[in-house]
Symmetry: D3
Subunit: 166 residues, 6 copies
């Protein structure tokens, strides 16, 4: 067994949701999950079929920018090369909008990360194939928030409208 | 710390759901989750108690074939040897039928995979015990689907009745 | 890439839920999830912000014991040092009460473990940061339950009132 | 406003799930919900479109018996005549298997009942249309269970395998 | 058909959750739902079996006060006399803690109300049995909140710890 | 007891979700549910407090058009006058995007309807207060879809992107 690190491509302004599922219907069901939740979201989902033809299965509603989201989702799925992994790249929507629906998708087992940060996937390569072991999602903490930082955090969340100012 | 690879036993016609839970009631609650969802499903669940007597806790409704599902579930749980891991082997039902109910089980933390493919678990062994790091689920992708492959995928999912033909 | 093992601090009588989320609002939303589920629960949640100031974000309702839960949650989050990881330490409540609500929290991707056992996290350190690869949760199994053990398990779960005695 | 009572047709061996949804996609999404949950279930779903052409929208996988389930689902939807109501009739599956998936269907607002009992719907007729006010589901209670009845109830649920005998 | 009004008994300090389910296992599954969510909750659940012996099925963990919760739950179920209705009375827990778990119970179709207010159920009586049509839950509004009322509402919710003061 | 009919105000381009909840925190939690799900949604929620001051509790993020959504939500809540009822009016989002999140809100018991159709609520007035008995949501069905109508329905759902064209 060999361990390796693979960096995900995250196009400008996109967020990445990375998970484990099963069955080729995943691509279509995740497509519906996103389209039915956030009107106007642009996205691509790629799923690694893990038996038979073993193809990267792809759905996308993003026709712009030379299919940038589709190409990046496929590139990420191929770079991971782990069976039954899926990659969802989305613009005009945020993971907070979508995680519940992705989690409830009939085929989804696990979600590894949801982020716009730089992402490295830690993988194991065996004779059979690849496993996702973990995700480096952004940077390590540099300190602990002070009372003032806490206050600013609360204010920020309210300023962007996610909690009520009161 | 030592890394090791363990292959799961998946009896013919069975699917494997592998996850992390807590508390010995997991075995009984997963039993109920399956029985209450798919009439006729035959299955066994094994859960690794991780404190006190540290026994593999097992429930099964499969009385046939020399208790093949029960024996394989126990063998897998013992081969993993990771505290609080659970193994569910099921026939006459598919992961797509069951994942939501397994996920919603009061004790379940995570689902690593759901598959009928060959499975290798990547584990870490420490002085204390074992951790599941990741799962090699089937094979790595060999290519990206073409438009024709996409069409066939859509047709296949509809032919088996999982989506409407229209 | 370097692999390392980090032991979690679990104060007496506390349970640990360890997971992956995103966005600094996680700390506040997990606070609400616990407070709205188990009256009287005392707890602290620490979340590793993974971009910008990269601070450990903390919420707690535990004012007693020199803020033991808060300090331990922060110490665990710093020891993990994995971006977007969260640590929830809780007293007067059990993971079985809370897992569903934690899982359904808008920002939560994954739950690695829920336990009062000794816990070692297996981590990968890269130039960018850290990934949680897996969790050693308590001890490995020492054997398989006998019919008598099964009977005692069923009786124990009923004696503590979690299933009906009948 | 006029109140009226309408009796539902429940074919032999079928169960009825009656609810409120919105949008003509309901019919297709409920079809997928059932097919993805219980292999072998035979069913029909009818949904009352409540604007535009105002047609009863129907999906079914039941080709047998002169389309008995489809015809009964449509007849029930027409007899109710309440906008956005849906009727699901199912054989080879039980409501307990399906309620969670029906409830989680993107379009579903409410479930009025799930039963194999005789059913009367109580309706209000106004100049605009009809509202479902409530459901007479089977018979009123004739008494309170004794300790012996409780024991028999527990035994029955275990005898049919829905809870563990222990 | 006759319409009638029935007042629910809500013992001091208790909250009432009133709903529609199916199958006699409801009583046992709701028992588990409560016990597994709020440690220390005292409660009784009564369910109106609607076929065969048509008994009020009851489970309770409340041994105190001459079984006041059990007696009130049964009295309410009998007063409703609607098939497949259930009544949950709980102390030391609040509906906000429990509603999600009650809703996710395998047998539950609908929840009519969750309240500590005076409750009148509006019922229809037919030759077959009874239907719950609606619930008068407390009093009608007397006005609209002013900005000052809104401020006090926000403060109150924070003062009791359900949202963060910030 | 008196029965009456009340027509809901639905501003142009808005959808109405009508339900039953409990506790004044409902207004704030539904606010968060919408804001966290559909970026750009404009909405107002009004909740009928049913004890103490009995005020209509309101939250809204709609500052435009002379607070049209807020005013209509309040007017609807007052017209219903049923304790613990809530009214959600939303623009730039559809019920299909939001129903799951509304349903999962800690305080929500029931959802009566989700619609842009004309809506009449059927209410009962007693000496104590009011109960919502049912909802006339749009019009009654005028016929059953033909095979051609089914085909057009499938095509329409795909044309607007909610299902994949294939």
């Amino acid at each position: 067994m060999e361990l390796l690190t693979v960096r995900m491509q995250i196009p400008d302004g996109a967020n990445l949701i990375l998970g484990q599922a099963h069955f080729i219907k995943t691509a279509e069901d995740l497509y519906e999950a996103v389209v039915n939740t956030v009107p106007g979201a642009k996205f691509a989902v790629a799923f690694n079929e893990a038996s038979g033809p073993c193809l990267v299965r792809v759905e996308s509603n993003d026709e712009s920018n030379d299919h940038e989201l589709r190409r990046a989702a496929v590139a990420n799925a191929q770079a991971l090369a782990a069976g039954h992994a899926f990659v969802l790249l989305v613009r005009n929507a945020y993971p907070i909008n979508l995680l519940g629906r992705v989690r409830d998708c009939f085929e989804v087992c696990a979600i590894f990360c949801a982020t716009a940060n730089p992402v490295e996937a830690i993988l194991a390569q065996t004779g059979q194939g690849r496993a996702i072991l973990g995700i480096v999602d952004g940077s390590s903490p540099k300190g602990v928030e002070t009372e003032d930082d806490t206050k600013k955090r609360h204010e920020f969340v309210r300023k962007i409208g996610y909690k009520l100012e009161c």
